[in-house]
């Protein structure tokens, strides 16, 4: 029995040391996300990344940038797939435009935003996040309806995640 007491104390110490840590992390996520236009999306997308439990605002911005990249990369794959099977020239034109725009997001906007966040030049992260949001919107507008956009939901997600990134990066200015 006496042998168990140190163990119990140790266990309690461990539990208590975790508790305040995770409380303040989710607090930072909440206060940060309140300053973005999409609170729920911001909270869920940040919390789903394990790095967010130890991140400061710059760290959250980095995660937000990675989130845009993941969704944009998935969108690009979807768009390229659709382009392969498209026969309508109007649809092909719109999809090709989207390829250019998503390439800009993935190869130009996000790498620049991440470097800007890491090195402390947040205005470049803000402007590239704005551009990413615009590129997704521009891709969507490229569908003249007809043909209707087959990727409205995916474009909307990338647009909103980019605006979340824009807001978080703005906190670093």
């Amino acid at each position: 029995m006496a042998n168990m007491i140190p163990l119990v104390i140790l266990q309690a110490a461990i539990s208590f040391s975790f508790l305040p840590g995770s409380y303040s992390a989710s607090n930072l996520i909440e206060t940060t996300c309140k300053q973005t236009p999409f609170f729920d999306l911001c909270v869920s997308s940040l919390q789903s990344d394990p790095r967010s439990s130890n991140a400061d605002v710059a760290g959250l911005a980095h995660i937000a940038a990675d989130n845009v990249n993941v969704k944009a990369t998935a969108n690009l794959q979807q768009i390229t797939g659709l382009l392969g099977g498209a026969t309508d020239p109007e649809l092909q034109k719109a999809l090709q435009g989207c390829v250019d725009k998503y390439n800009a997001i993935i190869q130009a906007d996000i790498p620049v935003a991440i470097e800007a966040i890491l090195k402390g030049n947040p205005k470049f992260a803000v402007s590239r996040a704005t551009d990413a949001a615009n590129e997704a919107q521009s891709c969507e507008k490229g569908f003249a309806n007809p043909p209707k956009s087959p990727i409205s939901d995916s474009n909307k997600v990338v647009n909103q995640l980019s605006l979340v990134l824009q807001s978080i990066a703005s906190l670093l200015l």
Binding site: A58, D100, K101, N103, A104, I106, Q107, A108, D109, P111, V112, I114, E115, A116, L118, K119, G120, N121, P122, K123, F124, S127, R128, D131, N134, E135, S138, K141, S170, L172, L173
Partner: protein, 579 residues
């Protein structure tokens, strides 16, 4: 056997560095190069937006002007440059020289990552001419921990007039954030030109912030190598965010001549300019510099925020002045970034231009600075067109033909005699940019809008309007100057924000002058002889090259008189072409 082990280790270290920086994953970087290379081969075929006479390199990304100076009669400009693509990254100090600030010869990059203190980037900085005429550059480096630190570089060979090679101090970094000084390691950059105090010690400032308070941290040195932080910053302001690219210099209270950065006394006022990270606008104040306390105090009534006085009310950032000893003027450089989408920038293979260098001086009233394009730019003028004095009726426009409308210099002055129809300026109308956005060129007015339609397509489907509106204020007439980009391009992916400024000119007793430097995708406009300047980037799809037109217009009810109109075609300058 040992050699193999060494090269294997070297190989691994290289990859560790590449991944460790977290810049771009190897796979993705292949994509970047591949795409940008493809895009660059098509880029040369169709480039309607490249400038004819505004500073830019043949391709790739540029931002801040760095270390402008004159040495042995030759002008130098360094600038932030990405040798690998049309976006910010891989930043080095590119370098060009000129005899006349108009035609530029490129050299190899002067400063690029090579020591721990700048291995992750060579960011902005300034040149100081030391006693004996020896130039020294202080610049911000990004160190292996991604901290912002300050480094010194001196010319390798002073007898090379082009100063092509620079040697970095082995003592770098000379200034850095530490646990002791508590300086924020992500907010410590852009050292200014240094000045000498009466005690013969050097001083400079570096932009910083503490939470939302913008800061100009002051350092002092006796030998330009050992720098000691002063007890107080030179100046600070609440709730402005990070202060980037600070600039601190004296201006003469009389006349248009510049003065050396170290001058102080009753015949000068001091200027402190900062670039605000937050709004991407710059603002300046006029004030006095106490050399004993090393404190700058702005004049009473100075606005210390985004609503303060600006060099330029449009696109103009990271500006920097230098004292031109050759011609006794203070010259201002500014970076004009793109208003196009990133995918368009990648397609065209370049991004960013510099403004035409401007002479800078204190206005006669002493209340603001005035700027004007350097006189040397006039050597590019050709095909001088002069329109005789003429009345411009309300609701009319006149085409100015005979000049290359996409690459032109236009200078017009208006005389207003009838103020009856001037609308009343509502007291709530205090934001000129908002006012111009709400009342663009197509909104008919009482007295105005009248001005120029530049980079206009036939039929005016596309046009950029630079104009005045005159309002009846409380005790006087108020002049609003606008640059309206809302119809500048059919391409909806461009940023077509409208810009505006109030112009301190009395239209009852003075002519209203407007000069616009038009150059394919940039329009730099100067109102009232340089009292209000507005720079814009536009990307017409129809109004390009020979299909671009130039008009004078009046969309008000009241007629105005064109007192004088001069227009010139501008010849191409030699912009960084390798011989």
């Amino acid at each position: 056997m040992l050699n193999m082990a060494h090269s294997f280790v070297g190989f691994c270290l290289f990859f560790a560095l590449l991944f460790g920086h977290g810049v771009v994953e190897l796979e993705a970087s292949h994509h970047v190069y591949k795409n940008l290379q493809t895009d660059q081969s098509t880029a040369s075929a169709n480039q309607p937006y490249r400038t004819g006479y505004h500073f830019q390199p043949p391709k790739n990304w540029i931002n801040d002007p760095n270390g402008p100076m004159v040495y042995k009669g030759l002008y130098h400009l360094f600038y932030q440059y990405n040798p690998k693509g049309a976006v910010w990254g891989n930043i080095v100090w590119a370098h060009s020289t000129s005899k006349d600030l108009v035609n530029w010869t490129p050299h190899d990059p002067a400063i690029y990552p090579s020591q721990p203190s700048d291995i992750n980037g060579c960011w902005s900085g300034s040149a100081t001419i030391l006693p004996g005429g020896k130039p020294a550059i202080l610049y911000t480096g990004i160190d292996p921990q991604d901290k912002q630190v300050q480094n010194l570089a001196m010319p390798k060979n002073l007898s090379d007039p082009y100063l092509r090679e620079w040697i970095k101090s082995s003592k770098n970094p000379l200034m850095q954030p530490t646990a002791q000084n508590q300086i924020n390691a992500s907010s410590f950059r852009d050292p200014t030109t240094a000045w000498l105090g009466p005690d013969k010690k050097w001083r400079l400032i570096i932009g910083s912030k503490i939470h939302r308070q913008g800061l100009a941290i002051l350092y002092k040195s006796e030998d330009f190598v050992h720098w000691i932080q002063a007890q107080s910053p030179l100046h600070s302001a609440k709730d402005t965010g990070m202060w980037e690219c600070p600039d601190f210099f004296p201006v003469s209270v009389r006349g248009q001549n510049g003065v050396d950065t170290s001058v102080n006394g009753p015949f000068v006022k001091h200027v402190l300019k900062v670039s605000l990270d937050d709004t991407k606008h710059e603002y300046y104040t006029l004030g006095s510099y106490d050399t004993v306390k090393d404190i700058y105090t702005p004049d009473k009534g100075s606005v210390e925020s985004d609503s303060g006085l600006r060099y330029d009310y449009g696109k103009f950032y990271a500006s920097k002045t230098f004292f031109d000893t050759a011609k006794h003027r203070r010259i201002l450089w500014g970076w004009i970034n793109e208003s196009s989408s990133v995918h368009d920038d990648v397609k065209k293979g370049w991004a960013g231009v510099q403004a035409i260098p401007r002479k800078l001086w204190l206005s006669k009233s002493g209340k603001q600075l005035v700027q004007w394009p350097i006189v040397e730019i006039q050597k590019l003028r050709s095909n001088h067109l002069r329109l005789p004095s003429k009345l411009l009726k309300g609701g009319s426009e006149i085409e100015v033909s005979g000049v290359t409308a996409a690459q032109a210099d236009v200078d017009i002055s208006f005389k207003v005699t009838d103020f009856e129809k001037a609308e009343v300026l509502k007291p709530s109308w205090t934001n000129p940019q908002l006012l111009c956005s709400q009342q663009g060129a197509s909104v008919k007015g009482g007295l105005g809008p009248f001005g120029l339609l530049v980079l206009a397509s036939e039929g005016l489907k596309e046009n950029t309007a630079v104009f005045f509106r005159i309002f009846k204020g409380q005790n006087k007439y108020v002049v609003l100057m606008c640059s309206d980009q809302s119809r500048s391009s059919l391409n909806e992916d461009n940023d077509k924000t409208t810009y505006g400024a109030f112009l301190d000119v009395d239209p009852e007793h003075q002519y209203l002058s407007l000069r616009s430097l038009i150059d394919h995708s940039i329009v730099e406009s100067f109102g009232g002889g340089g009292k209000a300047c507005i720079t814009a980037r536009v990307y017409p799809t129809l109004a390009i090259n020979n299909a671009a037109h130039l008009y004078v217009f009046n969309n008000g009810s009241e007629a105005v008189k064109i007192a004088e109109l001069n227009a010139w075609s501008m010849k191409k300058a030699k912009l960084n072409l390798k011989d």
